[in-house]
Amino acid sequence: MRWLIRRVLKKGKSSISYEDDTHYGEILTIGRASDQAIFLPDLRAALNHASVTAVGNGKYRVESLIIAGIRVNGEITYSITVASGAVIELGSTRLTLLDARGDYDAAVEVSTIDKSEQAAISSSRKKPTSLSETWISKRWPSWIGFIVVLLLGLLLPAATHVVPGLNKVLRYSPLPSTAFWNPGEVDAAHKIIANDCTRCHQNAFLMVRDTACTSCHASTKAHADPARFNIPALGDARCGTCHQDHNGNRGMVSQAQELCADCHADLKARTRNASQIADISDFGSNHPEFHVNLPGWSGNDEFTPKSMPWSAALKENSGLKFNHEKHLKADGLNAPNGRKVLVCANCHQPDVAGAAMLPISFEKMCHECHQLGFDTLAPEREVPHADVPAVTYTLDEFYARRGLEGGYADARAPTIVQERRRPGSPPLSRQEQVEALAWARDRAREAARTLFTSKACVTCHSINTTAGADGGWHVAPVRVSGIWYVEASFSHAKHQTKACNDCHAGAASSKASNDLLIPGIDNCRECHAGAHSSGKIASTCIACHDYHRSPLLTLDKPATTAANR
């Protein structure tokens, strides 16, 4: 085999000449030994460093003969088959394997790597010795982090405010939508609109407007007329001042005592006497005695309760005569069906909400014992309750029929009334009819008088007889249960752990119905105190009172321009 060995000789800067040599043999040996085909006088080469064999098709096989290996195409290797054009580097010599040419079977070009090139190669092969020389960087991760977070965290959600429908698309994609801005769970009641921030946040960079709230909460009452009660805190207050959302499911109604006390501590001075409400700052320490709504009636029986400060000496007028002590006897009462022990709940039953007590029902609660019979000869017949005209109709009709039918076994009655009429008897004569009806009218009046004045009604009711003895009976109006404290919300249901007697003390021994059995503030203060109390239930204003209570104003329709914000 003929090898062409072409040596590149550099003369000066740009002048290059070639020196060709021929080597005969299968193998091209490379090394520092003098018998090598390519002799390299370089300490970095071993005596027999490597060999190159032409394997045909312009390919060469390079093999290292020592354990240090040989650098082919920049990589240390021990044995490799390469195409022509491959470069072997050894010390300061570069061998380039060439295509076979002319009548040569193989060819190699030998050139010298000059000093500056060697230095460049070795520095390019040098591994990085500090982190700044490696692939990691501070600059591009900073840029990527900054841009990605700004784009996804701010710009994309913000774009939903100007691009309609984008938010909906984003919410169904893994990309962040405005939900990524949500600082906290919205209130349970607002979950239904939680996916649409703009329902409340209508304008970017503006606080939530009251109009956003009143678009749903249209009938919510105002607290007071801000024009009449000219307090900055009232006039400037937004809905959001008190009602802050995005604080989870703990509710948006603020319980803070300061919310009320800040103004009500000196409300008269603040409003320049426009308000006559007493100054209040704390339930436990600074709250006036309750004003109890005592029942009362106008001349034509219209219910006109009278609000008065509670006091132990206060008497009430329910319009009813009732002796609690008599009814609450421990050993019971004689009832038609045997002895019966009454307790509070027999008569005082809560309404469906459990807040107030239902009105007393004569039919359900009294009638078992207090029956409204009027005639011993017809003990099953009773007059209706609570309807004075119906009582007299009933009596008139009952006795008219008795008189005309006859057979009424009362010795005081005329014979025609006592006489039983048989079938086939002739009808009553005109004279007899007049006589029977006259008896009936007298008997009905007598029965009515007995019922109203001595037997039935008068037992419990005040009967006014001045209206006349012929049916003009007047029963005084009655109000037994009702709302005694109209400005406060009290619920019996929330106080079920207490016994009736705990608050309505003295009921069991009350002999007169005008005893006021409704407790005052001291009773409440046994358990309740203000927000900063210790050892008692911390009850802020909102526990009993409503804020949105103005009877005439609603939030969405302010009565005055001052409220129009």
Binding site: L43, R44, A46, L47, N48, E63, I66, I67, A68, G69, I76, T77, Y78, S79, K126, K127, P128, T129, S130, L131, S132, E133, T134, W135, I136, K138, P141, S142, I144, G145, F146, I147, V148, V149, L150, G153, L154, P157, A158, T178, F180, W181, N182, P183, G184, C197, H201, A204, F205, M207, V208, Q244, H246, N247, G248, R250, S254, Q255, A256, L259
Partner: protein, 301 residues
Amino acid sequence: MHDSILTHARSRYLWISLALSAISIALYLWHDPAVAPNGGTWLGYTLGTIAALLIVWLMLFGIRKRSYSTTLGSTRGWLSAHIYLGTTLILLALLHCGFQFGWNLHTLTLVLMLIVIFSGFFGVYAYLRYPTLMTRNRESATRDAMLEEISEIDQNALALADGIAPEIHAVVLRSIENTRLGGGVWTQLRARDGSDIAIARIRAAIEKRETQAGAAPPALQAGQTIIAMVDFLAGGADDKQSEALRKLIDMLSRKRALATRVARDIQYQAVMEIWLYIHVPLSVTLLAALIGHIISVFFYW
């Protein structure tokens, strides 16, 4: 007393930070908002403003440490303040948010901030520990001097080995090839000089050659240079050769020690720098999150 970055100016910034923390905690405990504590109360806005300004100021440290001409305090003082006030930031941010967290941009901001601060803690540890280790390791030489010495030893060893036997020359050649200091991030951090990788590569190459040639395994075992030479010594060499070989072994041992020290030097330097590759990019990312956080809460006020 030695004035470290932690005790600079009699720990002035430690006391400032403690005072700031104490005031913040006291205000937080005293503050009784109508709703749960959050970033939207007056205290929330106050703490948030302070924390945001602090973040911006802490980031200015990156500029301050590069401006050598400034008269605005020493870099050491700035670093001391950077560390203590940066630590205080954890408390300020937690009080600012009222310990409310969620899957949102606001908590992302907090998390980024915490990662930046805790990576900074590692930096403090590294700055306090590694300079001493580095000085001790270098034994008052510089890395360049050590590298120079290594390359000198290589030249001498090659000349010496050539006078002994071709095998020894080959072994020394290989040793030079194997001594590759530095490398990728992981290699630098683990203080490897690359010889293990080189040995593995040699093994793989030998195995490849064996399987291709189908020949029996050669006597040459890919082991450490020094062990290979001891084998040669035991194999019977004349006195002159033995002496030269001992000299060569001394030379290569010295080189190996030097290489190990250089590798360790690279490792210490890498450890002292690696945390910055988290600290700096994430602090810039944090800045974007902070901008987003502030704008978004006022966007939907």
